[in-house]
Symmetry: C2
Subunit: 491 residues, 2 copies
């Protein structure tokens, strides 16, 4: 079964691979490349790798935040000359990962040093049963690679009914059809997932075999799956033989919930990966939200068999990630950098910072927007977003009698009113994200004619990732625009 | 026609796009992202971009070679403490591209500052008629993205009969069939290309519409297309409506040829891009060979319409390249770095260095290998490789009567003897690249039964990218193994 998807539990998951993945052969050049590195006494005239003495680079140095402070993010943010630390990589060491190695060709999974550092990080937070890490070029790259491995043209993938459109759109040209699963303020509803799977009819096509979901601070709804929902969803994945693509960029940004106040010691929610006894979870992680998006560095943790496929596909497409990020991360997580303890301190401090922003944002929202009575929101337990429910039923031109007889289509004019509201915001100098952008695209066979999403577009996504000034100004405009819009006052 | 492949010359090239590309929609998130950046007075609560004050990075610094010396590569290589230059990027400037911008999200083509620097570089060497640059994650990423845009399952792409197997293999799972074009020491033979296209029969499937080729120091044959051949091939591309994917990583490593000795002023060969009046060339460039492979940074230069498609596909898969490389390159090519003049000095000095290596390698080859009479080679005019012809006809067990009657298949046992030779090399501690690895994979409909490639596998690829010590030891082993193998001496 080598090369096919046999999980470590002995479960054969190879039927989840698409035909492209099944016929892909390991790169023969990489085989010889590995041969020469495995046997250091071999004389190699084989690979056309430039010698490191010809790299015009001798040293790379990053000035990074110190994590010695009690609340390192707050200290760093407030004092642009405050304490820092230097992470230095030199051409031939001593350092955690030299330029000589980091800037050479390597294989798809990333350099062993970087892989090790990432694996320790994953073990620290998730203790997955038996999984391996492949480096990626960030979450978008990681997710689309999972789709390329799993998706056959005509296949159906399940996802949250409101989802990040960059991801859902990216799958469409590949021929993947989306099957949206209804959500509430707690995220994807397990019973709806069960309904969809249990009532799937052969004429709808191949039964969905992949669930793509964002469990923490879901984009755009800001919802977070409770532990109970996660367990139910994993059990359903076992029952219906689903692969779960767990996209979790906001994992470290988990705040308090109804039952507990946030402290530095507050635990993180158990991930799907941590429960994955079958090897059916492909967890996609990223440094974008806890370090910087432009790093374009992330990783996928999967069972060994999917790991092999990911590496092979990476070798045959993007190749391994850049050395800069691999060197930075290896140095940062190593003995001369933050170490894992320092990283943990940073992300907990960052979580506290975003928690402050969230609370600031909620307070502003209530004062400027909630007080109008035309919109409301729930405090998100993770992530960067408020999902603002616009009380569109209060609009003088609201209609809920649009459907005539046994006609299909929306019952309300919510979509049109929300479009108008979005335009009004723009006219007043405010950009928000309308729900319509995130409505999961559905093929004609699967659209819910009884209860179409057009009737549930009365939401806006706003972020608290920006500065306090931006939030102040933004919510002030939003409140004003809502009042004008609902009372149809012409400016 | 916006979004489809109308070239700037007015030629409609949209029929070259595959169906995936035709149905791909621009990323709606990027549209809003662009909106907020175009109108700086807009207040945005839209994009979940971490604020730069929360990046744990304040400064990035590279110690790079000084280009003040007459022969900067020689100076740099010989003195590990020799003169260098610091390239510094800070969080908020002043610098060519700050961390604030470089480490934020951007769009698929790369940051405007980096794109500008790359465009100037391309204009300097190629003066293309009217093209645009998209940044990539290196050549492998660039090429496979071109294939994804152009290749429909079942399509036929043309390429050199010996080609880089990582690339030819990568296209197979996508359903692309290769049609190899015969080569000689001057590379791809235009008349063979013409024959293939002129004699294409409908029952062979859709006529090839893409030619993938490496014009300089072709991998693995080391051959370089002359200006005359380039002109002929471009004219054939016009006649038969072919898109040329010009993969040119060795462009800067062009040496002397029969007519002229190499000097610092020696010109570079005109590229296909430089001739591209139609917009039918997609040129793929990389920093891997002139800086370092682990940078994973390159660019594609194409007509505006293919550019749009590339950006849209990049936004929907890998996303834009990492900020580290973009900041490094922008700083290096800018006023505080090498500048374009310094870069040109570096690559010309690097070319002289590889030229010395080539000559050293050729001398060694003649003494250790050529002198045995069992192998020969031509001096390559570019790149990193010698293509060693093994005189396999001299082997005592050589046979050229393998084909009986009207049977198909090879006439000789070249493939088997070369396999044995490769194993003998390994046994003696030497890794070389056998020609069999590079034989372009062919579908059953197109295999050349009269003149199959199995009879032309009497080549080895060796590189002069390594150190002199490695070359000395390597060629000494190769000479010895050849003598033993051809005289069937048992060790």
């Amino acid at each position: 079964m080598s090369g096919l998807a046999m999980s470590e539990s002995g479960l054969d998951l190879s039927h989840h691979l698409c035909s492209e993945a099944r016929v892909r052969k390991p790169n023969p050049m990489k085989a010889i490349w590995r041969l020469t590195r495995r046997k250091p006494n071999m004389v190699s005239l084989a690979n056309g790798d430039p010698h490191f003495s010809l790299y015009p680079l001798r040293k790379m140095e990053f000035e990074v935040a110190s994590v010695a402070e009690e609340d390192p993010v707050a200290s760093w943010r407030l004092d642009s000359k405050g304490p820092s630390q230097l992470l230095t990589s030199t051409i031939d060491g001593p350092c955690a990962l030299s330029l000589k190695t980091g800037l050479a060709y390597s294989n798809g999974a990333g350099l062993p040093e970087a892989q090790r550092a990432i694996t320790e990080l994953t073990n620290f937070y998730h203790s997955p049963p038996d999984h391996m890490a492949t480096l990626t070029l960030g979450n978008s790259d990681g997710i689309t690679k999972c789709f390329r491995l799993l998706g056959e043209p005509g296949d159906h993938f399940l996802t949250d009914e409101f989802a990040f459109s960059s991801v859902t759109n990216a799958a469409l040209p590949q021929g993947i059809n989306w099957v949206p699963v209804k959500m509430d303020e707690g995220g994807l509803i397990p019973e709806e997932l069960e309904n969809t799977m249990a009532n799937w009819k052969p004429e709808q096509g191949r039964k969905p075999h992949v669930l793509y979901t964002v469990p923490c601070g879901q984009n755009p709804t800001g919802s977070t799956l409770s532990v109970e929902r996660r367990k139910k969803i994993y059990a359903l994945a076992q029952r219906f033989d689903l692969i779960i693509v767990e996209d979790d960029p906001y994992y470290f940004l988990q705040y308090d919930n109804n039952s507990e106040k946030l402290s530095a010691d507050s635990p993180f929610m158990p991930s799907f990966l941590s429960m994955d006894v079958d090897g059916r979870v492909m967890r996609v992680d990223s440094f974008s939200k806890v370090m910087a998006p432009g790093m374009r560095l992330g990783w996928i943790t999967s069972s060994a068999a999917f790991y092999e496929q990911l590496v092979s596909y990476t070798d045959s497409s993007t190749q391994h990630p850049h050395g800069f990020g691999q060197m930075l991360i290896t140095e940062m997580l190593g003995a001369h950098g933050w170490g894992l303890g320092g990283f943990d301190k940073w992300v907990r401090s960052l979580r506290a910072e975003y928690h402050r922003r969230r609370d600031f944002c909620l307070e502003l929202f209530e004062r400027e927007v909630g007080a109008t009575g035309f919109a409301s929101t729930n405090p998100p337990e993770a992530g960067m977003f408020l999902w603002v429910r616009v009380n569109v039923e209060k609009h003088p031109r609201y209609r809920c009698d649009m459907r005539r007889g046994d006609q299909d289509g929306p019952q309300t004019n919510v979509a049109q009113l929300m479009e108008e509201l979005f335009e009004h915001c723009l006219d007043d100098g405010l950009v928000v994200m309308p729900a319509s952008i995130f409505a999961c695209p559905v093929g004609p066979k699967h659209s819910d004619k009884e209860n179409p999403i057009e009737d549930r577009l009365h939401y806006l996504r706003v972020t608290f990732a920006g500065t306090e000034d931006v939030m102040r100004e933004g919510f002030s405009i939003l409140g004003r625009v809502l009042k004008q819009f609902f009372t149809e006052v012409q400016k």
